[in-house]
């Protein structure tokens, strides 16, 4: 044991380490996220080949139009769930935002951009209320957001009653359905704000100090607090983001259907959470990645779109997606069990000795150097 003097680490590091214990392809391919992406690719190409009209020009276009709100809200929801919390009020905020835009535009005569801005601010305030109760008061997010799910929906329906406002300028309702690369393109305009938000959230979660804090809070919030992560503020901000993005999704929803109603997007929160979990995010927090979540949302969209084209009913589509979700949640347990089973069998067939375990260490060291070479 040598003396461990610590001045600055430069100069005479006593020991160096490889950065990764597994090779690059293992780290990239043997993940839950990649499994979802692979499944998406399989389902997509299968549908392209076998489902009539799936390869038509309208399929992808409508698919994106339909899943856009889920894609949008899944971004902040992923971060919220990684911290170990949940936000069930997102669809109610969408409804509130929709009703508010209708009222502000039709009754108060505001322009659409101004009404949208007000709605997004109100959405952020709704999120801030959730965040305050969860982060600073310390209430469980499940209970808080079940409460505000009813509260925000109630306000939305109080604003409009049972009526719908459909009197929106065509300029704006058309924009919601516009295609990016001119007629015939499969990509609607809504993908532009989505991609901007995606870049923002990928940076926030995977490439910023804030995101490291998000994961640490999910894994061990006490240790995060002890290392100077502001646990309360992080959670608060995430709920604000969830509220603001939900309100934006509500704006899109209103313009796309040209209809502002208090009960718009009813029940959408469960679809969002289902997609996030399907994308490999742990409901217990601390684990997940945005590429998996995006693939999860699109996977659900592709399956329902393909089944609809085959003339299946909504019920059947829901059953398939439900089964898929349950399978994805138990897959972690099943995989762990299978691995344990396999390694036990291998061990019992080959009696372990000192030399074979040394071999294992050598193999691991080899794999480690391999991975550093690849970098």
């Amino acid at each position: 044991m040598s003396t461990a003097t610590v001045d600055r680490p430069e100069g005479r590091a006593t020991r160096t380490y490889p950065a990764y214990s597994r090779s690059l392809w293992r780290r990239v391919l043997l993940t839950r996220e990649f499994a979802v992406i692979a499944l998406l690719a399989i389902v997509y190409f299968y549908s392209n080949a076998n489902v009539p009209a799936f390869d038509g020009p309208l399929t992808l276009y409508y698919l994106f139009l339909d899943i856009a709100p889920i894609l949008l809200i899944a971004l902040p929801m992923t971060l919220v769930i990684i911290t170990g919390e949940i936000d069930l009020s997102v669809a109610s905020v969408m409804g509130l935002s929709s009703a508010l835009i209708g009222v502000l535009h039709a009754d108060a005569g505001m322009s659409i951009p101004l009404a949208a801005l007000v709605a997004i601010v109100v959405g952020a305030v709704c999120g801030a209320f959730n965040g305050f109760l969860v982060a600073y008061v310390g209430l469980p997010s499940l209970a808080v957001t079940i409460g505000t799910l009813a509260l925000y929906r109630g306000i939305a329906q109080g604003l409009l009653g049972t009526k719908a406002i459909t009197d929106f300028p065509e300029k704006w309702t058309d924009l919601a359905k516009e295609r990016i690369f001119g007629d015939g393109s499969s990509y609607p305009m809504i993908l532009i704000p989505f991609v901007i938000l995606l870049v923002l959230f990928v940076w926030l979660l995977h490439f910023s100090t804030f995101g490291r804090g998000v994961f640490e809070i999910g894994l061990n919030d006490e240790a995060a607090h002890f290392s100077g992560v502001d646990v309360e503020r992080t959670k608060f901000l995430l709920f604000v983001l969830a509220g603001a993005v939900s309100a934006f999704a509500g704006l899109y929803f209103t313009l796309r259907f040209g209809s502002a109603r208090g009960d718009n997007a009813n029940g959408l929160e469960l679809q969002v959470i289902a997609a996030v979990l399907l994308g490999g995010v742990s409901i217990f927090g601390g684990r997940g990645a945005l590429h998996g979540v995006v693939a999860g949302v699109i996977l659900i969209g592709v399956i329902s779109s393909a089944m609809r084209l085959q003339g299946e009913t909504v019920n059947k589509i829901n059953i398939v997606i439900g089964v898929l979700l349950v399978l994805s949640v138990i897959s972690t347990t099943l995989l762990g069990w299978a691995q344990g089973f396999l390694s036990r069998r291998r061990r019992s067939s080959t009696p372990i000795s000192g030399s074979s375990s040394e071999d294992g260490q050598r193999r691991q060291a080899a794999a480690a150097t391999e991975s550093t070479n690849e970098r």
């Binding site: 044991m1 020991r15 380490y17 950065a19 490439f207 240790a223 290392s227 260490q361 970098r375």
Partner: protein
């Protein structure tokens, strides 16, 4: 059944091996415990003691080797199997159900039922009472487990073990969090169990305890069995040198350092019910020890200084500048580093990689235009991990599988990377093996030599006396004595640590 066991060991393991992936945790674990004896199991952290215990407890399955209980080969697939076979493990920090009563905790899952399958509470309480009487302790069987001291929680685990008629009891570092009186009571209980003919295994890093309590000692090193001796036929030095495979020259090598300016000033710090009017200062190059009994409020003072806990009155200044209360971030920015008491819960995120743990505090300085990558973290963390000789195969390995000493090195690397002015270190060597312990002590001494101010909290008196330039004794939330290195004798510290207690009792008596 205890007492009726035949000749030969109650628990016998021979050449038991266990590896996790490519990591060999146990190469040849061997131990033979006879009924009616207390058998010490000692070794550095990472020597394989915990793995051995977990195999006996049914948490892990061994890969190979002989495992016999009362002469019969056994193989436990679960902890339930081992309990049914009469093995009980008392962990350092028992896990009780805090909202259930003491009795309900003892009979969890096997409550006696009366007529109509209703739980017979009266019988349960009577039985619990009888168990406590047998152990010679006074705990109200009806009180909830919440708020019990760790020592009492251990007693409850022991009561549970006895009610299950366990013939083999394993105590995994039971005394680490106990005060002197509590240790004595635990020992009395342990001796009682020995005299009933049960076999006890006692794991501890404290040799005075091992030599006081045990009759036989087995030493392990690096997953291997080293030796078994009768306590009477060996000595501390002999055991220590077997554990580390070499002679330990000096355990507490604090070298004199030049004492500089005042770094930390704490003035009139108070928090209702935990500590009151605490004032002290720490200078550059100085190690100040906070001594006192467990529960005296030492850790709470440290936590308040660092800002994880609130305080009601007082001020904290670092290098003359006030440090905002209630904000670890402000404390970090001011140049304070804090190595907390509980490594697994507070010190590090065990499920995160070594690199992310080491870079956890400094990562704000690692970004390029706001972007932080794994590569940035690895580049910054690698040298610090290397400097502290963290044992890991790669930087993306998680800290969860590491030994306590290794985890402590990760925590230290994380904080030293911030290049702090003041290091607060709470129980620097709790649950750490002798070799790493000496390494940590040498490191602290070197750091002080480089001008770092260190505030050290420790329940191990020799550690405080050996390391500290100045000792502050805390008793019931107040600083009752400030002793220089020369004045600090075990007697002086213990006197101050119990001073107000005696005083308060006197006052009560006269009132």
């Amino acid at each position: 059944m205890p007492g009726t066991a035949p000749e030969g060991p109650a628990l016998e393991l021979r050449d038991v091996a266990k590896s996790f992936g490519s990591v060999v945790a146990l190469r040849s674990g061997s131990i033979a415990v006879t009924p009616g004896s207390i058998h010490a199991l000692v070794g550095e952290n990472g020597a394989g003691k915990s793995t051995l215990v977990k195999i006996v407890a049914g948490v892990h399955r061994r890969d190979s080797g002989v495992f016999r209980l009362h002469g019969e080969d056994v193989d436990f697939g679960s902890t339930a199997d081992s309990k049914a076979a009469g093995v009980a493990v008392i962990y350092q920090e028992p896990t009780l159900f805090p909202d259930l009563s003491v009795t309900e905790n003892i009979f969890m899952g096997r409550q006696p039922v009366g007529r109509g399958r209703r739980i017979d509470r009266a019988a349960m309480y009577a039985e619990a009472e009888r168990l406590f009487q047998g152990l010679g302790v006074h705990i109200d069987p009806r009180r909830p487990a919440r708020g019990l001291s760790i020592a009492d929680q251990q007693i409850i685990e022991i009561a549970k073990a006895i009610s299950l008629d366990a013939s083999v009891l394993i105590m995994d570092e039971p005394t680490a969090a106990l005060s002197g009186v509590e240790v004595e009571r635990l020992f009395a209980v342990a001796r009682g169990l020995r005299d009933e003919g049960r076999a006890l295994v006692f794991i501890s890093h404290r040799f005075d305890e091992v030599f006081e309590l045990c009759d036989t000692v087995t030493v392990m090193r690096d997953g291997d069995y080293v030796s078994t001796d009768a306590i009477a036929a060996t000595s501390v030095d002999e055991i220590v040198s077997r554990m580390v495979g070499r002679e330990v020259a000096e355990l507490f090598p604090k070298s004199p350092a030049e004492i500089g300016d005042v770094v930390l000033e704490v003035e009139g710090l108070s928090s209702l019910g935990t500590f009151h009017d605490v004032s002290f200062s720490v200078r550059a190059g100085e190690i100040v020890g906070l001594a006192g009994l467990v529960g005296a409020g030492r850790s709470e003072i440290a936590r308040a200084v660092f800002g994880v806990d609130r305080y009601d009155a007082g001020a904290v200044r670092l290098a003359g500048k006030p440090v905002a209360a209630r904000s670890p971030r402000a404390a970090i920015r001011a140049g304070i580093a804090f190595v907390p008491e509980d490594r697994r819960k507070q010190g590090l995120v065990t499920d995160a990689s070594v690199a992310r743990n080491v870079a956890a505090v400094i990562r704000r300085g690692l970004t390029h235009a706001g972007v932080l990558t794994n590569r940035d973290e690895n580049k910054a963390a690698g040298p610090w991990a290397g400097r502290l000789e963290v044992k890991t195969s790669a930087l993306d390995m998680t800290a969860s599988t590491m030994s306590g000493g290794n985890q402590q090195k990760v925590v230290l690397a994380k904080w030293l990377a911030t290049e702090p002015k003041l290091l607060i270190i709470d129980e620097p060597t709790r649950g750490i093996d002798v070799g790493t312990k000496a390494e940590v002590h040498r490191l602290l001494s070197d750091l002080a030599g480089q001008g770092l101010a260190i505030l050290m909290i420790s329940s191990e008196l020799p550690e405080v006396l050996g390391m500290a330039d100045r000792v502050l004794v805390v008793c019931e939330g107040r600083i009752t004595a400030e002793l220089s290195r020369d004045e600090a004798t075990p007697e002086a510290v213990m006197h101050a640590a119990t001073a107000t207690t005696a005083h308060a009792i006197e006052e009560e008596a006269t009132a």
